[in-house]
Amino acid sequence: MIILTNPSIEAVNLSKHYNSFLAVSNLSLKIEGSKCVGFLGPNGAGKTTTLKMFTDLIKPSAGEALINGVNVHTNKKKALASVGTLIESPEIYPSLTPREVLMMIAEIRGVPASERSKRVENAVSEIHMEEWIDKRVGKFSKGMKQRINIASAILSDPDVILLDEPTLGLDPRGMSEVRDIVKGLKSKNRLIFMSSHILSEVTDVCDEVAMIDHGKLLAYDTIHNLTGKFSGGGGIAEIGFSRPIGDAQAIKMIQSIQGVTSVEKLDPQNVRINFSGGTEAQERILSDLVAMKLGVISFRRSSLALEEVYLDLIKETV
């Protein structure tokens, strides 16, 4: 069966209240296409509640949660047919092995019998747990279980992936590996909607962000547009050098590049610049930096700009 569709998720006037507490308030948001969207907000903002309403873990009090145009609550099987999820670090049946729990998910999701074993082994290989594949999950650490959950989310090669703080409980290596997995997932035609508290993670992995607080959507745009709006059309980047740039002359040189508005030395081999302009300005600044032969080895958009936007928006709603 071939279904022609552009992967999408849509909240239509979605609300959830627990007695008098309004967790999500009339949320309307449509995300469409192959991209990664970060879902940001402080604790209690309504991120997890929203994701739970998209995965049948919570019934909405009002409104609709649609995936690929299908209502999750009236037609769950169709809506979640091509969705991988990881919500709130799930626990796994302790007496089963990763191979067994993933086979169970593969069978539920209708992965063809001829492909199941291979898909399970590939998913386990992607999370680097080959040697644990036949050990019982009950003995696993929280981080190991989270990896199995990630394997479960990607097992059926879904079009839409919903992740709720996927790096929660992982050690730094695990966090980095999960970020790499998510980046890898982006290369295929997928829509990834990921909540996170870690702004650097969102900046690193996502193309767009939706910000929510007190259950209300504050902003939804590309990271570039959002940071641009809040910093007068510019951004922040961190530049790494192969050797120390100790002298003030080097800083002056960087400051003289057209579009650079300020330079801050982070340490002898790293500086942070504020700049005006969009991607073209970034390209030119990088090109000028390289031409200066200061030993530029990295040029990375900083999460600081997103942090400023985040804090500004959240502050307004307090």
Partner: protein, 286 residues
């Protein structure tokens, strides 16, 4: 629509019945390897071994007077305890643990109806409990064959069938209580209290104080398991007058008839399985 906007659904999500089978298969595997299965099996064996030793050593005349009285004493007195324990062990927290232990977060956000998960788990619990009951029945028959040869009374077959029906009902009841709460401890404790003492106490109070037949009681309906092993079948209502001190006291006891018992068990099963399912369908994972 461009080619880039095109996505392909390669997996065909199976029907709800097939998914129910998948849930049953893996939940049963989980039960079979779990500590609670082995603990229950241990209890099952301890009861069987104790009965074997006690009857073998003391050779009570009334128990060994006929094969029917042997099966009545053995099966009639202990099987409901084994069934209730199975219900508590496999059903007491079957659904509440999905919330408390967060295993529901692994299974529910998949293209599967909650009813397939609920009924799949119930079926797995029934299979695991049937194994326990089957082992207990095999040891009972083994002892019966030792004392009376292969002349197994047909009433034992009926009692076996009624016991299995009671097991089905007890699991439905336990799953209902398990759906009521999000705490495993609360649901296990409540089902244990109700099934081990609660119903029996209510029966006694209702019969002796209100003086009506306890047709609403699950344990009253389950009485047909031991009643069917009595020959003749006990009367539906018995009134005895005894002298207590200076006065005469009239005591009434009721025995469910087979159709009545089956009706009580059937209604309990249907009502509790539906209520439990509705609760699970509508409960939020918060």
């Amino acid at each position: 629509m461009t080619e880039q906007d095109t996505t392909q659904v390669k997996n065909v999500v199976p029907g709800s019945f097939a998914q129910l089978g998948v849930t049953t298969k893996y939940t049963f595997l989980d039960y079979l390897r779990s500590r609670r299965f082995f603990v229950l099996l241990g209890i099952d064996l301890i009861i069987s071994v104790l009965l074997t030793i006690v009857i073998g050593y003391y050779r009570p005349a009334d128990v060994l007077s006929s094969s029917l009285s042997f099966y009545s004493s053995w099966w009639g007195l202990s099987t409901t305890f084994v069934i209730v324990l199975s219900g508590i062990f496999f059903g007491g927290d079957a659904i509440s643990s999905e919330f408390q232990n967060k295993t529901g977060y692994f299974t529910v956000p998949n293209p599967i109806r909650r009813s397939s998960i609920y009924l799949g788990k119930w079926l797995a619990a029934l299979i695991a409990s049937t194994i326990i009951l089957g082992i207990f029945a095999a040891i009972t028959i083994g002892n019966g064959v030792y004392y009376f040869g292969l002349s197994i009374p047909y009433q034992f077959g009926e009692a076996l069938l009624f016991s299995w029906i009671y097991l089905v009902t007890v699991l439905g009841f336990c799953f209902f209580f398990s759906s009521l709460f999000k705490s495993s401890t609360t649901s296990i404790l409540l089902t244990a209290i109700l099934l081990l003492f609660g119903f029996t106490l209510i029966d006694a109070v209702i019969v002796n104080i209100v003086k009506i037949e306890p047709w609403f009681s699950l344990t009253y309906g389950a009485g047909i398991i031991s009643n069917v092993l009595s020959s003749p079948y006990p009367p539906h209502k018995t009134t005895t007058t005894s002298r207590f001190g200076r006065g005469l006291t009239t005591l009434t006891s009721y025995n469910a008839t087979v159709p009545e018992g089956l009706l009580i068990l059937g209604v309990y099963f249907i009502v509790t399985i539906i209520l439990g399912l509705v609760l699970f369908e509508n409960k939020d994972f918060t």
